[in-house]
């Protein structure tokens, strides 16, 4: 038995049909609001609050917006202010239990990265309040042409961070109890038979998209490719739209803007997602732009994923969800960039040997 199967087989598990699973969602809804993937048009998916458990999509490649939208909203009022009397109040963030259902392992891994980003140094109350009581039910998935999470060390069946985990088996699922919180939820649900003792045997999943080095070697590659020509190659194609930043599940940069109501008295200090690929991101007062070229911005984006934060957090800050590649309007793929950098690195190493 391989290490992954060994780990999965240690959890108590139940066999559950899809029909019962939807009843389980109904049961969860009685405990707390449940958020899960839904169809959003014909070929797109998004996390939404579950109204009807029949509408929850259990098999999907990826949602367009990452789960981070529930912890770092795309638009968030930081302060309500009154211009006339110079007063302000901070909107209350309700610290409530929320259940996130049918979440993929790379998405869970991205939250671990966001946890790091919002709690190292200063601990941000806004993020922590939203994150504190969150419960996660994971589900495995079949990688499509853009997923490459295995290349960054995240298995499809990685259970870390989840309270419960679903593995498809036959015409139903195994429901695995990962944490005590998960166990309590299962115990309260009357629809399950006794724990199942069949042995889990995962089939190694084939990722079409791959990085050609083991992820442990990537920081070393990034030590040598700062001046690579690869950055220019992709800058020539890139249109600088920032989609890769805005859909990235670990990007967390933001802008803060004051917005005034029509009464010219009330307004809000509001935070919006921002992205280092956008032209004005590194501009300072006086107009100087410290990352004026697309090549430098592309480099900055990748260094943030594979080196800068990684050196401190000891985690790659790319989780292989493939959103940046999948939704890039000009078809730039993260794995292509990294593989080109590896080629460049190898050529450099060979030259040094000679």
């Amino acid at each position: 038995m391989n290490a992954l199967d060994e780990k999965l087989n240690r959890f108590t598990k139940y066999k559950i049909s899809e029909q019962t699973l939807r009843k389980f969602i109904d049961y969860l809804k009685q405990q707390a609001p449940v958020f899960a993937p839904h169809h959003n048009g014909e070929a797109s998916y998004s996390y939404e609050c579950v109204e009807n458990s029949a509408e929850v999509v259990l098999s999907y490649p990826r949602t367009m917006q990452p789960l981070k939208k529930y912890f770092l909203p795309p638009r968030e009022v930081l302060l309500n202010f009154n211009i006339k009397d110079n007063t302000f109040s901070k909107p209350e963030i309700i610290e409530e239990t929320r259940i996130f259902f049918a979440v993929h392992s790379y998405e869970m891994a991205s939250l671990k990265r966001l946890d790091y980003s919002f709690t190292q140094g200063h601990v941000e109350s806004n993020y922590v309040s939203r994150r504190k009581y969150a419960i996660f039910v994971g589900i495995s998935y079949t990688p499509d042409e853009s997923h490459f999470s295995k290349s960054v060390g995240i298995d499809v069946e990685e259970t870390e961070g989840f309270d419960l985990f679903l593995l498809p088996v036959g015409d139903g699922y195994f429901l695995l109890e990962i944490t005590d919180t998960g166990k309590r939820l299962v115990e309260g649900f009357p629809g399950l038979a006794a724990p199942d003792t069949t042995e889990i045997k995962t089939e190694p999943l084939q990722f079409k998209s791959k990085i050609k080095y083991h992820h442990n070697r990537l920081p070393a590659v990034f030590d040598h490719v700062y001046k690579s020509k690869v950055w220019d190659k992709y800058a020539e194609i890139c249109v600088g739209c920032g989609t890769c930043n805005l859909l990235c599940s670990t990007c967390y940069c933001f802008d803060i803007r004051d917005e005034v109501d029509l009464d010219a008295e009330h307004g809000t200090r509001t935070r919006y997602w921002d992205g280092c690929m956008l032209n004005t991101f590194a501009e300072v007062a006086g107009g100087e732009n410290f990352r004026g070229s697309l090549a430098r911005r592309t480099r900055h984006r990748l260094y943030r994923k594979f080196k800068y934060i990684t050196a401190k957090s000891e985690m790659l800050h790319c989780v292989g969800c493939g959103r940046c590649s999948h939704f890039c309007p000009v078809g730039i793929s993260m794995t292509d960039i990294v593989n080109d950098l590896i080629t460049d690195y190898e050529e450099k190493q060979n030259k040094e040997k000679i």
Partner: protein
């Protein structure tokens, strides 16, 4: 997460302070004296900055230009160059203003005890360095020579005329000023700030050089200092970036792997030398 929740902070709430004095310095720069609620001291270090805000006009990072040895209020020198700073220029003494901070690392003047201090200030770069200059003047016996080089584009842009007059008269300060372009009244030195460096006679091993100015200035000043054989480890720079949040989150001020609002704005030169995006 629940452990961390105990340390969670409301990072974006300003304190409402009061502007207690406004002084026009040049056509585009004013000095504001700020008093915190209850007249409490800001407890800043020289070289640190605050996030200044006016509701409806946003926030901006502004260097503190007064020394913590003088207080409890503190000074900000503000150039009108954007939404927030333009609005701030319209405010009078008695107006309220939002303050978050102090942020950034600042200088540790105790580390410079007994050393000769060489201040190289370009344009509005004099403002952040003035917090350290005043500190060394208030603890004059702790330091060796105090040499201030100050360059501006033209005489109309000279900041702090009162202080400068004092510095010129004081015998224990060596103050040299230059302008890039003279006007009819100007009798002093003409030329960019780097022209002031070669004539200096310095005990290079014992001299601490601090440099603040517009982005274009650093490269040339650093070359001149190298020409003077001032060791890299004796050089400190303060770098300007768009520190939006001040607390190491928003990403705008990042230079390679360093956040200016956390690890800077004051950098030891051997550190930034490795960073392509720094100077």
């Amino acid at each position: 997460m629940e452990n961390l929740a105990q340390h969670a902070e409301d990072l974006y709430c300003p304190e409402i302070a009061t502007i207690t004095r406004v002084e026009t310095l040049t056509a585009s720069e004013k000095r504001f004296e700020i008093t915190m609620p209850g007249n409490r001291p800001l407890n800043h270090k020289p070289g640190q900055f605050v996030e200044v805000s006016i509701f409806g006009f946003g926030e901006a990072p502004i260097s503190i230009c007064s020394s913590p040895t003088r207080g409890p209020s503190f000074d900000l020198t503000v150039r009108a160059t954007g939404r927030l700073t333009d609005k701030m220029h319209l405010l009078e003494a008695g107006s309220q203003i939002g303050i978050r901070g102090p942020f950034g690392n600042g200088f540790d003047p105790q580390d410079f005890k007994g050393r000769d201090m060489l201040f190289i200030c370009g344009g509005i770069g004099l403002a952040p360095l003035k917090s350290l200059i005043d500190y060394t003047l208030d603890r004059r016996n702790d330091f060796g020579r105090i040499i201030i080089l100050y360059g501006t584009k033209n005489p109309a842009e000279i900041l702090f005329p009162e202080e400068i007059e004092k510095w010129q008269q004081q015998t224990d300060i060596e103050f040299v000023m230059t302008v890039d372009q003279a006007d009819e009244q100007w009798q002093g030195h003409v030329g960019v700030i780097t022209t002031l460096i070669p004539p200096l006679e310095l005990d290079v091993k014992n001299t601490i050089a601090t440099v603040v100015g517009p982005p274009v200035m650093y490269k040339f000043v650093l070359m001149s200092l190298k020409g003077k054989r001032i060791p890299d480890e004796n050089i400190y720079l303060s770098l300007e970036r768009r520190m939006k949040c001040g607390v190491g989150k928003c990403g705008h001020c990042q230079i390679n792997d360093t956040y200016v609002c956390q690890d800077g704005p004051v950098y030891h030169y051997p550190h930034v030398k490795q960073l392509e995006e720094a100077v």
